[in-house]
C-alpha cells in the first residue's frame, strides 16, 4: 500500500507538470480540447493526492510500523483520534496535508461554474497547480511520508514511539488543520491577483470573485492561531497563551496583512482606490504563509515549533519564495501605470482615510513583528553577532499599535464615505466616547495597581463595543419606525438583510473580546509560586488553596500524581481543584496537567510543579505549586466563537450578502 501512496505522489507530480504546460499552451493557442485536458489534470492531481493521504491515514490507523512515519508518531495504544491526527504531527505528513488541501481548493476553483466563461481560469489553475508542484517536489525529494522503516532505521520496530503527550490534546489536533486551511486559502486570492496582473485586467473583479475565499481563509487562520493559543494555555503550563516565538509570529504576520487586505479591498470595491496597495498586500500575505512553513522546517531560528532541522529543505523553500517574490514584483512594477488609475483621497476625515489608517497600523505591526523575528539573522549577516529581541520587545511595540487599531475599529464603520462632517462625527461618537471615558476613569481607580495603560486599553474596548451596540440599536429603531415591525423582528431582518455589514460587526465584537482577555491577562495577572507542606495554604487574590498531600492513581497505561486542593474564595468554599503530573508509559518526561477553574471574570490556574521526596521515610515531604489568576481569559475563547459566527453570517450566500451600490458622485 505504501508503494501505492508513493506512486500516487510521483504521478501527481508528473501530471502537475503536464497540467501547467497544457494550460499555458491552451492559453496561447485557444485550444479548448487541451484546456479541458488540463482541467482533467487538476482533477487527477486532486484524486491522486487524496489517495496518498488516505493511504497514509490507513497505515496510521492500522499501526503499520513498516512505514517509518507511522513508527515515529504513533503507537498501538494511542487512541484512534490521535492515530488519525498524527497525520500532521510530523514534517512530511504536514506537507502532505498542505498539498492535499491545495489540491482540493484548486479543483473547486477549476470546476466552479462561476469561472467557466471567464478567461482567467486557465491562469489561476496553472498558478495554483504550480504551487502544488512545489509541495509535491519537496515531499518526493526531501520529506517522503511513505519511506519504509527498513530504509530509515534498518529494521521494522515492533512498537512505534508514540505521539508526544503534549500533542495529545484536541487543541493540537485542530490547530495545524485550521492553520493550514487558512494558509492555503490565501493562495486562491493570490492566484487571481497574479492573473489580473498578467492579463492587465486590474479592475476589482478579482477581488469580488475571491472575497469569500479570503474571508474564509482569514477565519481559519484566526481559528488556527486561537487553537494554538488555547493549546499553549492548557497544555504547556506556563500560564500564558502567546510567547512571540518565531513560528507564532510567522502565523501572526499573514493574519495581520490578511486582515489589512480584507479591509482595503473594500475601498477598491467601493471607490476604485488603493489598487497597488491591494496587490502588494495579497502578494506579501501569500509569501508570508510560505515564510511560516519555511521557518518551521529550515531550523534557521531557534524555536519550540521547529521540526528537526533540514537545511536542504530550507534552501528549497527559500528558492521558491524568492522566485514567487521576484515574479510578483516584476509583474507589479510592469503594470504599475494601469494600477495607478483611479480615484484619489478627498478628505482626511472619511471612511477611506480611516481604512488607510487601519491598514497602516496592521501592516506596521506585521512589519515590526517580521523585523523582530528575523533580526537575529540580519544582525548576524551584517555584524557577525546574533542579536535577538525577546517578548518585551514585541509587547511594547505591538501593544500600542494594536490598541490604536482597535480604536480605529470603532471609528471606521461609522464614519461617512468621501467626506465626513463634524456633525456626523458628533452624532456618531459623542456618547460612546463619553461613556468609554467614564468607564476608563472608574477602572483606573477601581482596579489594582492604578495602571494608566490598562485603564486606557479597557476604555478603548468599551468605546468600540458601544459604537457597535449603537449601530445595532439605531438600525433597529429606524427599521421599526419605517416598517412598523416589532423590535426583535426589525433587528433580525435588519441583520439578515445586511449580512456583510452586521457579520462584520459581530467579528469586530469577537476581536474586542479577545483583546479584553489579552489586556486582562497581561496587565492584571496574579502569580504565586510556593512550596507547601500538608495542611499549609497558598493565598492568591481572594483565593485560598489548602494542600493536603499528594495522591497517586493509574489512568490506563499512565501513572498520575495529583493533589486535591479545597478552594476558598472570600470565606466561601467553592470546590476543589486538582492539578496533576502524568507519567507516561512510553514517553520519558512527565507532563503537567494544568487545573483551571474558569469563570467569566477570571481563571484560577494551578500547576503542580514538583515535590520533595524523603528517602528515609519514603514519603513526599512538600510540594511546589505555581498558581495564577488570569483575569478575563474566557473572553478569548468566547471572542473566537463570535468571530467564527460573524464570519459565517457575513459570507452566507443569497440575498442580503451583497454589497451596497458603488459610491459614485
Amino acid at each position: 500500500m505504501a508503494d501505492l501512496g508513493y506512486l500516487s505522489l510521483i504521478l501527481a507530480l508528473t501530471i502537475s507538470i503536464y497540467t501547467i504546460i497544457a494550460f499555458v499552451i491552451a492559453i496561447k493557442t485557444g485550444n479548448r480540447k487541451l484546456k479541458n485536458s488540463a482541467k482533467g489534470g487538476v482533477a487527477a492531481i486532486c484524486l491522486l493526492v487524496t489517495t496518498a493521504s488516505f493511504i497514509l491515514i490507513y497505515h496510521l490507523v492500522a499501526s503499520d510500523f513498516s512505514i517509518a512515519y507511522v513508527a515515529q508518531y504513533t503507537s498501538t495504544d494511542l487512541p484512534l483520534f490521535y492515530k488519525f491526527s498524527a497525520f500532521w504531527a510530523g514534517n512530511s505528513g504536514s506537507l502532505l496535508l498542505w498539498s492535499w488541501v491545495l489540491a482540493i481548493y484548486t479543483a473547486i476553483i477549476t470546476f466552479s461554474k462561476k469561472h467557466e466563461q471567464d478567461g482567467k481560469l486557465p491562469y489561476v489553475s496553472a498558478i495554483l497547480t504550480f504551487n502544488n508542484l512545489f509541495f509535491l517536489f519537496v515531499m518526493l525529494f526531501f520529506a517522503n511520508p511513505f519511506i519504509k522503516s527498513v530504509q530509515k532505521f534498518g529494521y521494522v520496530p515492533a512498537e512505534g514511539s508514540g505521539l508526544n503527550p503534549m500533542l495529545q490534546n484536541p487543541g493540537m489536533v485542530f490547530h495545524p488543520l485550521t492553520l493550514y486551511l487558512g494558509y492555503v486559502g490565501f493562495a486562491v486570492p493570490f492566484a487571481f491577483a497574479i492573473t489580473a496582473l498578467i492579463l492587465k485586467k486590474v479592475d476589482d473583479s478579482w477581488i469580488k470573485v475571491t472575497r469569500r475565499w479570503t474571508v474564509i481563509a482569514w477565519m481559519f487562520l484566526s481559528l488556527g492561531n486561537l487553537y494554538g493559543a488555547q493549546w499553549a494555555y492548557v497544555e504547556l503550563g506556563w500560564g500564558g497563551f502567546w510567547a512571540w516565538d518565531p513560528v507564532e509570529n510567522a502565523s501572526f504576520i499573514p493574519w495581520l496583512t490578511g486582515t489589512a487586505f480584507l479591509h482595503s479591498v473594500m475601498i477598491q470595491e467601493r471607490k476604485d482606490m488603493l489598487k497597488i496597495w491591494n496587490m502588494a498586500l495579497i502578494i506579501v500575505t501569500f509569501l508570508s504563509t510560505i515564510f511560516g512553513t519555511f521557518l518551521t522546517r529550515s531550523g534557521v531560528l531557534q524555536s519550540v515549533h521547529s521540526f528537526a532541522s533540514n537545511p536542504g529543505l530550507g534552501t528549497v523553500f527559500l528558492i521558491f519564495m524568492s522566485f514567487v517574490a521576484l515574479v510578483s514584483l516584476y509583474l507589479l512594477i510592469d503594470r504599475i501605470n494601469l494600477l495607478k488609475q483611479g480615484n484619489q483621497f478627498e478628505s482626511y476625515l472619511s471612511k477611506e482615510s480611516s481604512f488607510l489608517v487601519n491598514n497602516l497600523l496592521l501592516v506596521g505591526a506585521a512589519f515590526a513583528t517580521f523585523w523582530g523575528t528575523i533580526f537575529p539573522l540580519i544582525s548576524e549577516a551584517v555584524r557577525g553577532v546574533r542579536v535577538t529581541v525577546s517578548v518585551p520587545f514585541f509587547n511594547q511595540v505591538n501593544g500600542p499599535i494594536l490598541l490604536a487599531m482597535v480604536f480605529v475599529m470603532g471609528i471606521c464603520p461609522l464614519i461617512a464615505w468621501q467626506r465626513s462632517s463634524l456633525k456626523n462625527l458628533r452624532n456618531n461618537f459623542m456618547w460612546p466616547l463619553l461613556i468609554a471615558a467614564v468607564i476608563g476613569v472608574v477602572l483606573y481607580f477601581y482596579l489594582p495597581g492604578r495602571q494608566l495603560y490598562g485603564a486606557v486599553a479597557f476604555a478603548v474596548c468599551a468605546f468600540v463595543i458601544l459604537t457597535i451596540v449603537q449601530e445595532f440599536y439605531r438600525g433597529t429603531v429606524v427599521r421599526h419606525r419605517m416598517t412598523g415591525e416589532g423590535y426583535l423582528t426589525a433587528l433580525g431582518r435588519l441583520t439578515v438583510r445586511n449580512r456583510r455589514r452586521y457579520g462584520g460587526y459581530i467579528v469586530h465584537l469577537g476581536i474586542v473580546f479577545i483583546v479584553l482577555a489579552v489586556i486582562g491577562s497581561y496587565g492584571y495577572k496574579l502569580e504565586v509560586t510556593k512550596q507547601v507542606k500538608p495542611g499549609e495554604t497558598i493565598t492568591i487574590g481572594d483565593y485560598t488553596l489548602t494542600y493536603n498531600g499528594l495522591m497517586e492513581k493509574r489512568e490506563g497505561a499512565n501513572a498520575v500524581v495529583y493533589a486535591e486542593m479545597p478552594v476558598v474564595k472570600g470565606g466561601k468554599h467553592i470546590g476543589t481543584i486538582t492539578p496533576e503530573k502524568v507519567f507516561y508509559k512510553n514517553w520519558q518526561q512527565p507532563g503537567t496537567e494544568v487545573a483551571i477553574r474558569g469563570t467569566l471574570a477570571e481563571d484560577l490556574y494551578v500547576i503542580l510543579a514538583t515535590w520533595e521526596w524523603d528517602e528515609k521515610t519514603q514519603s513526599v515531604t512538600s510540594a511546589t505549586f505555581k498558581v495564577n489568576v488570569n483575569p478575563l481569559m474566557s473572553w478569548m475563547w468566547i471572542g473566537g466563537y463570535l468571530l467564527v459566527l460573524g464570519t459565517i453570517f457575513a459570507v452566507w450566500p443569497g440575498k442580503g450578502s451583497r454589497l451596497g451600490p458603488k459610491y459614485t458622485q
Partner: protein, 143 residues
C-alpha cells in the same frame, strides 16, 4: 492645517503613523535587544557582557539540576562541550527539562560570581516533534 491641500493632510497623517511605528520599533530595539552568544564566548571570551541581555544555548549537564523549594530556585549547569556555565533560575522546572538535551537561556551573566541569572528558559528536545532513532526510542521504552 486648514489651508493645506487634502492630499498633503493625508500625507502628513500617513507620515505621523509611520514615524510613530518607527519610533516604537527603534526604542524597542534599544531597550530589549540582546546578544546570542556561546558559553565559551561568555566564560573565556574577552568581551564584557555585563548588564547585557543575553541568549545562550547549551547542553544540560545531566545530574547538576537542583531545586530549592523554599526559595523557588532552580540551579543547574550547562555546557557547550568546551566550557561549563552555572545557572540559576528563579522559577520551577519546565516540563521536559530533565532529559532535554538542549536548553536556551535568556537573562544576564554575572562575571564576578560566574553565574548566569536566567529569566527565561526554553527547552529544545530533539524528540519533541521529530522522533530520534528507533534504538534510542526503544532504549527509552525499557527505562
Amino acid at each position: 492645517m486648514l489651508f493645506l491641500k487634502q492630499s498633503t493632510k493625508i500625507f502628513v497623517g500617513v507620515l505621523i503613523i509611520v514615524v510613530a511605528v518607527g519610533y516604537l520599533m527603534f526604542s524597542g530595539f534599544s531597550n530589549f535587544a540582546g546578544y546570542q552568544v556561546t558559553i565559551t564566548d561568555l566564560v573565556a571570551g574577552e568581551e564584557d557582557y555585563d548588564g547585557e541581555y543575553l541568549m545562550v544555548p547549551g547542553k544540560l549537564v545531566g545530574d547538576s539540576v537542583k531545586f530549592d523549594g523554599d526559595k523557588v530556585q532552580l540551579a543547574f549547569t550547562v555546557t557547550d562541550g568546551k566550557n561549563k556555565l552555572p545557572v540559576i533560575y528563579n522559577d520551577v522546572k519546565p516540563d521536559n527539562f530533565d532529559d532535554a538535551t538542549e536548553v536556551i537561556l535568556e537573562g544576564f551573566y554575572d562575571k564576578e560570581e560566574n553565574v548566569f541569572k536566567a529569566e527565561k528558559l526554553t527547552t529544545k528536545c530533539p524528540s519533541k516533534y521529530e522522533a530520534g532513532s528507533i534504538e534510542e526510542m526503544n532504549g527509552e521504552l525499557q527505562k
